[in-house]
């Protein structure tokens, strides 16, 4: 009656699962290595992490054109997964490069740091690859738990701990909503598998079912929290500000991308029939998110915090792509996520270089005169700021062009206008950074720049990608379009 059958391991596509394996093995390896003494300045952890990330990315790229459904359709290996896995791995790698020196400087150079980094990357990969609400939930929790800890990693500092506490409490709170939403959806459709949900909805459209709607809404709350959409965004500035800067960069890029990956999969795979339901809501949320993020950022004096608000605003732009929906919206979101991740990572990477030892010098004032004291850093920061503001010839501009063109095509003209006007507002505060860097004299004690080769590599990578995608984004465009193709 009940045949106890192990899933055939032979049937498992090891390449496709390679990322998951590499990341978890890497994390465990790091923990084990902690028991092997190493000199305090050791880069062992970073090395292992890089290798793990490389292996993970390499593994999925090896079978990038394959399409696999594993574990009863819970884990999908498709273009979407490949895209995000690689994206997360590169984000992780850049974060590792940025952390390389940072963790030593700020005395948090523990193996656990990298282990948690890998774990959260694993969580992100799972969120992107999952085709089942259970695994999405688990991936989300895995990512979040690791991030809670990472945010509070500078545990001797109150701001870091406070940030962790807020992030954790609110994250758990939002998880509660998400979970309840999943429960309702499960009740309404009888399954947690996205494909089956879609099939169910296609067969018996029950647009008005309150369980379905409330479930969907609560799901939205959960993901909205992760991507920092208004009004679920309020944790963002505090968490970003308190977290170690490298972690901030990492989570602003990775966690957001993962949230959007999950959101996109859920909306595009499971809920196309309900499009008319979620579209207006998401439109409002998108408009609000853009506006609140940008407007609140205006008066910030702490650049880290300002960028936190900026990341909220970018969530708004991304939501516009999500609202546009379909192949176009999806690919635009993917495209924008990629460019956003690197320009944001780059910006935080630059910030992570400021200050001596454990101190953080990330107010606008601290940036004064930076542009001329360190031309390379100044140039990089300027490019990141302009890119975030959507000024050509940077990737941010290309991202906005593609994103807005998709939105225009979907007939979302008002939303697009809100978006472009918001980008004007945003330029104001991005310019303030350049104003400080180039147009103000440094104070009595100019901020020290903690240059390190690894950090320089990170800056160069992010800068190069930001500029390159600004002038030639065709490859990324094609990739984004192809990747989303697998989803639909």
């Amino acid at each position: 009656m009940m045949p106890f059958t192990m899933p055939s391991l032979i049937a498992v596509d090891w390449w496709a699962l390679g990322a998951v394996i590499a990341l978890s093995v890497g994390a465990m390896l790091l923990l084990v290595l902690e028991f092997v003494p190493a000199p305090p300045a050791s880069n062992r952890g970073a090395f292992v992490t890089l290798l793990a990330l490389l292996a993970a990315a390499g593994s999925v790229l090896e079978v990038r054109d394959a399409r696999r459904s594993l574990f009863d359709g819970m884990f999908l290996h498709d273009g979407f997964t490949v895209f995000f896995t690689v994206l997360f791995c590169v984000i992780g790698a850049v974060a590792v490069l940025q952390s390389w020196d940072y963790v030593k400087r700020t005395r948090i150079n523990h193996g656990e740091y990298y282990a948690l980094l890998l774990s959260s990357t694993l969580g992100m990969v799972l969120m992107a690859a999952s085709n089942d609400l259970i695994t999405i939930f688990l991936g989300l929790e895995l990512m979040s738990l690791a991030l809670y800890v990472l945010v509070g990693f500078r545990r001797t500092r109150l701001d870091s701990s406070e940030a962790a506490m807020k992030y954790f409490l609110l994250g758990a709170f939002a998880s509660g909503f998400l979970l309840y939403g999943i429960a309702l959806l499960y009740g309404a459709t009888g399954t947690t598998n996205l494909a089956k949900v879609a099939m169910f909805l296609a067969d018996s459209p029950m647009i008005g079912n309150p369980m379905l709607i409330v479930g969907g809404l609560l799901l939205l709350v959960g993901f909205g929290f992760k991507v920092a959409a208004v009004p679920f965004h309020m944790w963002t500035p505090d968490a970003y500000e308190g977290a170690p800067t490298t972690v901030t960069g990492y989570m602003s890029a990775g966690a957001k991308a993962a949230g959007f990956a999950a959101l996109l999969r859920v909306l595009l795979v499971a809920f196309p029939p309900l499009m008319s339901e979620w579209r207006p809501i998401l439109s409002w949320i998108a408009a609000l998110t853009m506006t609140v993020g940008n407007v609140t950022a205006l008066l910030q004096t702490n650049v880290k915090r300002m960028l936190a608000y900026s990341s909220i605003a970018h969530a708004g732009y991304l939501l516009v792509a999500v609202v546009a929906g379909g192949l176009d919206g999806g690919s635009a979101a993917l495209f924008y996520l990629a460019v956003y991740s690197f320009m944001n990572l780059g910006a935080f990477g630059v910030l992570a270089l400021l200050g001596r030892g454990a101190e953080e010098r990330v107010t606008i004032k601290d940036l004064a005169g930076l542009g001329f004291r360190s031309p390379m850093l100044g140039l990089a920061m300027t490019v990141f700021m302009l890119s975030l503001g959507g000024v050509p010839p940077t990737s941010g501009f290309m991202g906005k062009v593609y994103l807005f063109s998709v939105a225009v095509k979907a007939g979302l003209i008002p939303l697009v206008i809100v978006g472009v006007l918001n980008s004007v507002v945003s330029v104001f505060y991005y310019l303030r950074v350049t104003v400080a860097m180039y147009m103000q004299e440094p104070g009595a004690e100019p901020v020290e720049i903690a240059w390190a080769p690894s950090a320089a590599i990170a800056v160069v990578i992010t800068l190069a990608l930001t500029l390159w995608w600004g002038v030639q984004a065709q490859d990324l465009l094609t990739t984004a379009q192809r990747s989303i193709l697998g989803l639909l």
Partner: protein, 103 residues
């Protein structure tokens, strides 16, 4: 058992507990109590899962509850650690006394 409890009742109960949890989060200032309220919310979700599982006749819901409990346990470990750490640094876990980061 002669009869199953109607699903609607279970759901209403679950929703009530959920809302109580939400209110708890909103009205309390002790981080631990807030966290407990969150646990209430999770449990409300679990109740809904089990209820649906029963109504649908599938085990998926119960398995889900199992996972949720694991997650909850993990969250508790991390969360309590964080709260304890905050207490060490600040001598308080009242969330309205902790706002170094704001604005």
């Amino acid at each position: 058992m002669m009869h199953d409890i109607p699903l609607a009742w279970m759901l209403a109960l679950s929703a009530t507990v959920f809302v109580i949890g939400v209110v708890g989060v909103l009205v309390r200032r002790n981080a631990l109590v807030i966290f407990m309220s969150i646990e209430l919310m999770l449990n409300a979700g679990n109740l809904a899962f089990v209820a649906f599982s029963r109504a649908l006749g599938s085990l998926d819901g119960q398995v889900f509850v199992f996972f949720v409990m694991t997650v909850a346990a993990a969250e508790v470990a991390v969360g309590l650690a964080i709260i304890v750490n905050v207490f060490r640094l600040k001598e308080t876990i009242y969330v309205d006394e902790i706002n170094l980061l704001k604005g």
